[in-house]
Symmetry: C2
Subunit: 231 residues, 2 copies
Amino acid sequence: MRLVIAKCSVDYDGRLSAHLPLATRLLLVKADGSVLVHSDGGSYKPLNWMSPPCAMAEVEPEAHEAAAGVTAVWQVQHAKSEDRLRVLIHDVLHDSAHDLGVDPGLIKDGVEAHLQKLLAEHIHTLGDGYSLVRREYMTAIGPVDILCRDAEGASVAVEIKRRGDIDGVEQLTRYLELMNRDPHLSPVTGVFAAQEIKPQARTLATDRGIRCVTLDYDALKGIDNSEHRLF
Amino acid sequence: MRLVIAKCSVDYDGRLSAHLPLATRLLLVKADGSVLVHSDGGSYKPLNWMSPPCAMAEVEPEAHEAAAGVTAVWQVQHAKSEDRLRVLIHDVLHDSAHDLGVDPGLIKDGVEAHLQKLLAEHIHTLGDGYSLVRREYMTAIGPVDILCRDAEGASVAVEIKRRGDIDGVEQLTRYLELMNRDPHLSPVTGVFAAQEIKPQARTLATDRGIRCVTLDYDALKGIDNSEHRLF
DNA sequence: TGATCTATGTCGCGT
DNA sequence: ACGCGACGTAGATCA
């Protein structure tokens, strides 16, 4: 990994064109040749970048560029597309290289897949007598997160989101509409389950007769743990 | 901006939990207090991060952490949520600070806006006799990209996407439903125009009587250029 | 490899 | 501040 602090301007041409006027920035060159241009603010997204696979070449500035004070040009070309990044370097304030080795990678916990698994395992939290039919129940327009049956044996489609907003309600509505055309399943009711449900989503769901359930991830994990402890 | 290369482990707790095992990484602290943890590969997205507004405090490692070789702990707390990042630093291989000043920011040359403009200028590519009513036709629930009329004078609402997926079809459906309640406009048919249309989106659109049109950006540009060349 | 879906999405705009 | 749509979305999973 190479770290360069330099006064530079940057041009990107590819899916769109973008230009960064002359200013002091961090240029980060990774081991795979990818380049990130960061300012001293904003978020984790660079001002401009080139993703791997790509190749960086340091070329001579053209005459008019040299005349304008450009001392070096980094030309970064994507390997599989026409995407190109040109960094015109004026002054270099810092330049260092570091060997980092391979990263073991990120371990995540608490994403939608975990919620789905936990709720499927404890489907009775939706109500007494509920039983799981299957997770990822396939329909023509995509998989329903959970299909189960209530105490009376009626089908219930469950859509799970980490954050429940209006899109999720629309999605579940489409599934319900389709599934209710199937005489083997109909009538199918809906449950919209999320750790947090936006007021607008709750209103829309309720208006369509979809029940909203707020999921408590830690509580579900707690049930899981206490049940495991019995064995 | 502070650049630190260090052997460290990282824990994030907030919308989810995530952990990075001990390894050598770049720690980037921006002027606004935000922190990025980068490995020497992958994409422009950091392995872990904390977005502004947030505050970083360097605290003493706990006894068991110190015993495990931790020499310093960065505790980064988001200002408006419970999101927290803890960086346990073992060895520091590099540490430097740089004053970058404020960045003038990125200048973009848009794509979607350009596509809309091109299609509006060549609305006849949708069919003979089509005429433009207006771009960004305002409705109660938002602007329709293009409103035009077909050869028979019937209203046609056009939704333009770079990538046409199911959301775009839903969006256009909402517009059509609303506009068809307006006796001045009704009947309004829909055209879903995109550079690329996903099969599921095409199926849903067709099922709802919405015509799908694949846009060729270069061809539209070509028409544009050849027409310009006439003058 | 292509299609679909999630994301600690982020970003920018309009109300 | 909130909602909504675009993004050079990127990344994972599954057929």
